[in-house]
């Protein structure tokens, strides 16, 4: 293949164009308004596991956004009602068979919905696109019990480590409990649910809440967060959104503490998001879907590059 040629075939690009139109039709039929918030923001997320592209501008450093979440919440606080964005987002260093540092994200918010109502809508979109007739919901601890025979909420770091060793995973270096959980997810659970069709995972650990609220489930505090996996591929991540600006502020500060301890750059906290939360973001649930991955699965492909016009090495 010569380097000027696209990584995707023209057939896949037609399917891509059709799916972009289908998604917009899906949202339009449900009266969800399309918005296009900026790609270059003065602030960015504090998540220690997401690295950003920084762009030098005549007005100082700006960040290519890894998700339109914060700007969309500022719109929600201004009374936008239900909104969606279908556009490019950017994550530095994320390149592999199922990762491209520049990718298309479909993100939407539903006012006055819980994450369970949103799960149903995500299922309608994905099941329709992938022609899957059924879907199921599992709690994270039930999946870990099923595949790794551990009780996630009670388990100490060592038990997760042993579970990883029992699964034949030979890991170099030291991990903490959340890292081991991510390891078991990517190495054991994802391949394990690959034959299950569409699976929603709910009730994440409190420490994995990100911007979701904390709720009680069977005597445990869990994050009101969900992820969607189709054929073992992570497709979506959604929250019943945390609205309290003080709680958000504490989480951002904790993120920055972790970043500092790992030697990563500390991020300026997005005060405009905090101000919008003080003004009042309505009760809502939101979700982000990896559009390219959804297209990849719909086309029966195994690599993102096969459905992206020019993948990272050719861009």
């Amino acid at each position: 293949m010569s380097e000027w040629e696209p990584s995707a075939g023209i057939y896949e690009l037609r399917a891509r164009a059709a799916m972009l139109a289908d998604v917009r039709a899906f949202m339009s039929s449900r009266s969800v308004m399309e918005v296009d918030t900026p790609s270059l923001g003065q602030f960015a997320i504090t998540d220690p596991n997401i690295e950003l592209f920084e762009v030098a501008t005549s007005d100082g450093t700006r960040f290519l956004q890894s998700s339109p979440e914060y700007a969309m919440k500022r719109l929600l606080a201004s009374g936008s009602g239900d909104i969606f964005q279908l556009g490019k987002v950017f994550r530095s260093g994320e390149h592999g068979g199922r990762h491209n540092p520049e990718f298309v994200m479909l993100e939407w918010y539903r006012v006055d919905w819980t994450h369970y109502q949103l799960i149903r809508e995500v299922a309608e979109l994905i099941a329709e696109t992938l022609r899957l007739s059924t879907w199921q919901i599992w709690s994270l601890d039930a999946l870990l019990e099923h595949f790794c025979q551990i009780n996630l909420h009670d388990a100490a770091e060592l038990e997760l480590k042993v579970a990883a060793e029992n699964a034949g995973i030979d890991v170099v270096g030291d991990l903490d409990k959340l890292d081991y959980l991510d390891l078991l997810m990517t190495h054991v659970v994802e391949p394990g649910i690959a034959s299950w069709g569409l699976v929603f995972i709910v009730d994440f650990l409190e420490q994995q809440a990100a911007l979701s609220r904390i709720i009680e489930r069977g005597g445990n505090s869990v994050a009101a967060r969900f992820e969607a996996y189709a054929h073992g591929v992570e497709l979506a991540n959604g929250y019943w959104e945390e609205l309290n600006p003080d709680i958000l502020m504490r989480r951002f500060e904790a993120d920055n503490d972790l970043r500092a301890s790992r030697g990563q750059l500390v991020r300026k906290i997005d005060e405009r998001l905090i101000s919008a939360s003080r003004a009042g973001v309505p009760d809502c649930a939101g979700v982000a879907v990896g559009f390219d991955r959804l297209l990849m699965l719909a086309q029966g492909r195994s690599e993102l590059s096969q459905v992206i016009p020019f993948s990272w090495p050719l861009a």
């Binding site: 592999g96 991510d182 992820e227």
Partner: protein, 190 residues
């Protein structure tokens, strides 16, 4: 040697792992959207040839291994070491028994072998895929039996024993596949 980060782990890169030189075979990036990224890496231990599968946190790094593959001509052995010469610089390298290993039975003078140097010393010796060697010992050839059928053991000038067709006799030169240790054809006499 410089350090290499997981995103630089391309196939063929030589790195040190647990004090052993290894070659990267495959590198797969996996990451939950909201979690720690990992690289699932397959490596070959260059000393033992064993393939290992290891998982690294993305961004971790390994020290590069001072490993070089060069073509050297085999010269001779003194029983303890096997001596190879760089035909361009005439520099001599001595390989021990562990480095020569299974290649020993194919060592023919003035033949080129791929020698992997680790910190300047031979780590492994790889024979060419095909090599032409003289039969030094075998049962007498059966005239006329060129069509098919049986085979017999033959000892070659380097000490290797291969099965050859019945019609071949001592003094003849044959072509052998060193990977399978099998006779390929009769070669023109040296």
């Amino acid at each position: 040697m410089p350090n290499f980060s997981t995103n630089e782990f391309k196939p063929g890169l030589k790195v040190m792992l647990d004090n052993e030189p290894c070659s990267i075979l495959e590198n797969e990036y996996v990451k939950p959207g909201k979690g720690q990224a990992f690289n699932r890496v397959k490596l070959r231990n260059l000393r033992s040839g064993r393939v290992l599968e290891k998982t690294f946190k993305s961004g971790d790094s390994l020290e590069g291994a001072d490993v070089l593959d060069i073509d050297l001509e085999y010269s001779y052995t003194d029983g303890e070491f096997w001596y190879f010469m760089d035909p361009n610089t005439f520099e001599q390298h001595s390989a021990d028994k562990a480095a020569v290993a299974d290649a020993e039975k194919w060592l023919k003078e003035q033949e080129k072998f791929e020698v992997t140097l680790f910190n300047g010393a031979p780590l492994t010796v790889t024979p060419p895929n095909f090599i032409e060697l003289e039969i030094t010992e075998t049962d007498p050839g059966l005239k006329g039996d060129t069509a098919q059928g049986g085979s017999k053991p033959a000892t070659l000038s380097t000490g290797a024993v291969v099965r050859v067709p019945l019609f071949l006799s001592e003094g003849e030169v044959i072509r052998v596949d060193t990977r399978s240790g099998e006779y390929v054809s009769r070669a023109s006499k040296v």
